[in-house]
């Protein structure tokens, strides 16, 4: 029987009233990973953010310069940004708690290429939201891409841990992440 080309290797909901979810022990037996997530902002947080960024940290590495990325934001306007000395990966933007009748769902899709190799790993991410602000449409879609280099010590880099976290606002327990493994 032929092997499955794609496996579901991890899935979990956020605990609720938390910003972060971490997956550990990711097997090194696949070629690529795809992260598919549904992120819901806690609208009762009282933080009054219109939106917030979503970050990714790999192998619990927060060393400045580990992450380099670009991003392109689109919606009512357009903007672009990049980072060459990042301590995290900027992978998306989600609805904030301001003018949100519902914890609007923000889809997040990230593809990590060649993640198990001892070499820089690149990713591509898509994320965004639409929100009805007192009957006025608003929203931002963000496409980002970039690369993550091997740790400064030159140690092996295969990615075994992935953390996805919102920069300021909490996420509800209906927020969920699935990680798919792609075989060679």
């Amino acid at each position: 029987m032929a092997d499955s080309a794609i496996d579901l290797i991890a899935a979990s909901n956020y605990a609720g009233s938390t910003t972060s979810l971490t997956f550990t022990g990711i097997p090194q037996t696949y070629k690529h990973l795809k992260i598919i997530a549904n992120l819901c902002t806690d609208i009762n947080a009282g933080e009054n953010y219109s939106s917030q960024n979503v970050h990714m940290r790999l192998n619990n590495d927060s060393t400045a310069g580990t992450y380099r990325w670009t991003k392109l934001g689109m919606g009512s306007g357009t903007y672009a940004d990049d980072e060459t000395n990042g301590s995290y990966a900027d992978i998306g933007i989600i609805a904030g708690d301001y003018h949100a009748d519902y914890p609007h769902h923000s889809p997040l899709i990230v593809t990590l290429f060649n993640y198990s190799a001892n070499e820089p790993t690149s990713w591509q991410a898509q994320c965004g939201f639409t929100k009805d602000d007192n009957s006025n449409i608003s929203g931002v879609y963000l496409r980002s891409g970039g690369g993550v280099a091997t740790a400064g010590s030159g140690s092996d880099w295969g990615i075994s841990q992935i953390e996805i976290y919102a920069s300021n606002v909490n996420l509800t327990s209906t927020s969920r992440i699935s990680i798919l493994g792609y075989n060679d």
Partner: protein, 206 residues
């Protein structure tokens, strides 16, 4: 595996990949037009056993039209946020926030002089994570391309986030994401246009 449980700890203990994992993708349904007089296709029986739904379309038009999407049986406002990007004569990127009354427009449309009068020619992909949630309006990712080079606005594609305003706070709309419809703004899909629906992962309230 029970819904909502993480495999992360299991992975840490096992440390190996292979056949013990759940299948990530499950094919659900294909819809293929058998003529060139079909304006709309619909996935109306959405299983509730997956984390996300994935739609892939490869289709043509009988003339230059928009592609439109509806995500619910409720006739409600439909919102999109993203960008449009074109080639010859159309340029971009253009930021695109929109609020349509019944459907979501996915960018520009093909010209009547180019690829649309063939099977294929246009491509659509959508992913809806957390689609089973009926407490709040669910959003999805959408990408649509029209690979033609004739005329201004004829080849603008769309990429971004789409959402229908169901359920809403007033309670007049309650269905949530209970069906997926794709249609042309006018005219028809070309014969042998094909749309496939897949399920991803395992279901949860999220």
């Amino acid at each position: 595996m029970p819904f909502g449980l993480s495999k992360a700890t299991v992975l840490g203990a096992a440390g190996s990949g292979g056949g013990s994992y759940d299948p990530a993708y499950t094919w659900i349904e294909d819809i293929k037009t058998s003529n060139s007089t079909t304006q709309e296709i619909a996935f109306t029986s959405l299983p509730s056993t997956y984390h996300a739904l994935h739609v892939i379309g490869n289709y043509g038009f009988t003339a230059g039209h928009y592609t439109e999407v509806r995500m619910t049986t409720d006739v409600v406002n439909c919102m999109a946020s993203g960008y449009e990007l074109g080639g010859v004569g159309s340029g971009g990127p253009y930021g695109a926030n929109s609020n349509q009354s019944t459907r979501i427009f996915l960018g520009g449309y093909t010209s009547s002089s180019t690829l649309q009068n063939d099977p294929g020619g246009s491509y659509l992909e959508m992913i809806f994570p957390g689609y089973t949630n009926t407490d709040e309006p669910v959003a999805g990712y959408a990408y649509c391309s029209y690979p033609t080079t004739a005329g201004w606005n004829s080849n603008l594609g769309f990429e971004g986030i789409i959402r229908a305003d169901s359920p809403n706070t007033s309670g007049t709309n309650t269905a949530g994401l209970d069906e997926i419809r794709v249609r042309t703004s006018s005219g028809y899909f070309y014969e042998n246009s094909k749309f496939s629906l897949y399920g991803i992962g395992t279901a949860t309230d999220g």
